[in-house]
Amino acid sequence: MFIKTQLILLALISVVLSQTDDEESFLFVTKQTVNRFIVQDKDLTVKYGLYNSGPTTIFNVNLNDVLSYPFEKYDILVGTLTPKWERINAGSNLTHVVVLKPKQSGISNSSRATVTYQKSEKNTEVQKTYSSEIGDVYIMTAREYDRRFSSHIIDWVLFTAMASPCIVFPFFLWFKSKSKYESLLSKDKQTKKAQ
C-alpha cells in the first residue's frame, strides 16, 4: 500500500517536472467566416484567431492563406492574406480579419491557413502549424441571394397595381347591377308594406 502511494506520488512529480521543463509554446489558429451566406460580388469576411497557449512569447509569426483564396477567384478588399507579426506574447490572443469579394459562384474549397513561427527568440528553428479549415463553401449568385432575401416591396406594390383592376373592375360592375336590382325589390316591398 505504502509503495503504491509512493509510486503515484513519484509519477505525479515527474509529470509536473517534465511540464515545467518544457518552456516551449504552442500556437492555436482558428479560421472562420463571419458571413452566414457567401454571395458572389458581395463582401466575405474571414476571421483568423491566433492564441499562444504556452508560457513563452513566440516570434516571427507568418500566416499564409493564399491557397484558400486564389487571386483569380477572390478580390481582396481589406487586409492581407499573408500577415506577419513580430511576436505574440504568452497566453495572448490575436485576431486578424480579411475582407474578400468572391468573383465566381459555385462550390469553393476553403482549406487551412499555414502559420510559421519561432518558439523563442534564440531558437531559430521554424515551427509550422495549420489553422482549422472551413471546407467546401457554396458561393451563391447575387441573383439567387436577391431572390431569397430581398423584400421586393416595390415589385409587390406594382403587381398589386396591375392585378387589382382585373379583380376590382368586374366586381364593381357585378356589385352595381346586383345592388340596383336588390334595392328595386326592397323598395317595392317597403312601399307595399307602407300601403
Binding site: 415589385d155 382585373c166 368586374p170 336588390e182 328595386l184 317595392d188
Partner: protein, 214 residues
C-alpha cells in the same frame, strides 16, 4: 310542319340542332303549344341560347382578353422576384401563359353558364317590376310585348352579372392560388419548377372548381 317553323341559329352546337330536328313526342307537344301562343322562332332562339354553353363572339373576346391579361400579370412576379429572365425562360412563359389563358377562358365560360340560371331566377321579380314601371304609362302596350321585354331584359341582366362575377371570381381565385403556390408551397424549388407547377396547378384548380359547381 313544326320543324319548318324553327329557325336554327348558326352558332348552335350539333346536339341542340339534332334535338330540335328529331321528332321527340314531348318536345313536339311543347312546340305545338307554343306556336299557338307566340311566334316560335323567337322563343326557340331564347330557349336554345339559354341552354347553350356556347358564348357569343363578344363574350368570347372579353373572356379571352381577360384570361390573357390575368395569365400575363404573374410573369412580373416571376421576372422581378423569382429572377427569371425573359430571354432564358421565354419558352416556359409562352407555354404557361397560353395554357392558363385557355383554361381560364373555359373556367369563365363554365362558371357563367352555371351562374346565369341562378341569377336569372333571382332577378326575375326585380326585372318584372322594372319593366312594369316602364309599361305603366304606356296603355297601348299589350301583355305579349311586356313579357318579351321582361324575358330579354332578364336574360341581359343575368348574362351581365354572370359574366362580371365569373371574371371577378376566377381572377381572384387564380391569383390567390398562384401566389400561395409560388411563394409558400413551392418557395424553395428551382424557378422553372416553381413557375410551371404553380401556373399549372392553379389553372387546374380554378378550372376544376368551375366545372364542379352545381
Amino acid at each position: 310542319m313544326i320543324e319548318q317553323n324553327i329557325e336554327i341559329p348558326v352558332d348552335l352546337p350539333m346536339k341542340f340542332i339534332f334535338d330540335i330536328l328529331t321528332p321527340q313526342p314531348h318536345f313536339i307537344n311543347k312546340q305545338a303549344q307554343m306556336t299557338t301562343q307566340r311566334s316560335a322562332s323567337q322563343d326557340e332562339d331564347l330557349l336554345l341560347q339559354d341552354f347553350s354553353r356556347n358564348v357569343t363572339t363578344k363574350s368570347w373576346i372579353l373572356f379571352s382578353g381577360n384570361a390573357a391579361v390575368v395569365s400575363a400579370i404573374p410573369l412580373w412576379l416571376f421576372w422581378r422576384i423569382h429572377q427569371m429572365d425573359f430571354s432564358s425562360y421565354f419558352i416556359h412563359f409562352i407555354i404557361g401563359t397560353i395554357v392558363s389563358t385557355y383554361f381560364l377562358n373555359l373556367a369563365y365560360q363554365n362558371m357563367k353558364f352555371i351562374l346565369k340560371h341562378k341569377i336569372a331566377q333571382k332577378r326575375e321579380e326585380a326585372v318584372n317590376r322594372e319593366i312594369s314601371k316602364i309599361f305603366a304609362n304606356d296603355k297601348n302596350a299589350n301583355k305579349k310585348d311586356k313579357d318579351d321585354r321582361v324575358l330579354t331584359r332578364k336574360n341581359e341582366v343575368a348574362d351581365f352579372e354572370a359574366t362580371t362575377f365569373s371574371i371577378f371570381y376566377n381572377n381572384s381565385f387564380y391569383l390567390v392560388c398562384l401566389i400561395v403556390l409560388s411563394f409558400f408551397v413551392l418557395k424553395n424549388f428551382s424557378p422553372t419548377v416553381n413557375y410551371l407547377f404553380s401556373v399549372g396547378l392553379s389553372t387546374l384548380v380554378v378550372f376544376l372548381f368551375s366545372t364542379g359547381q352545381k
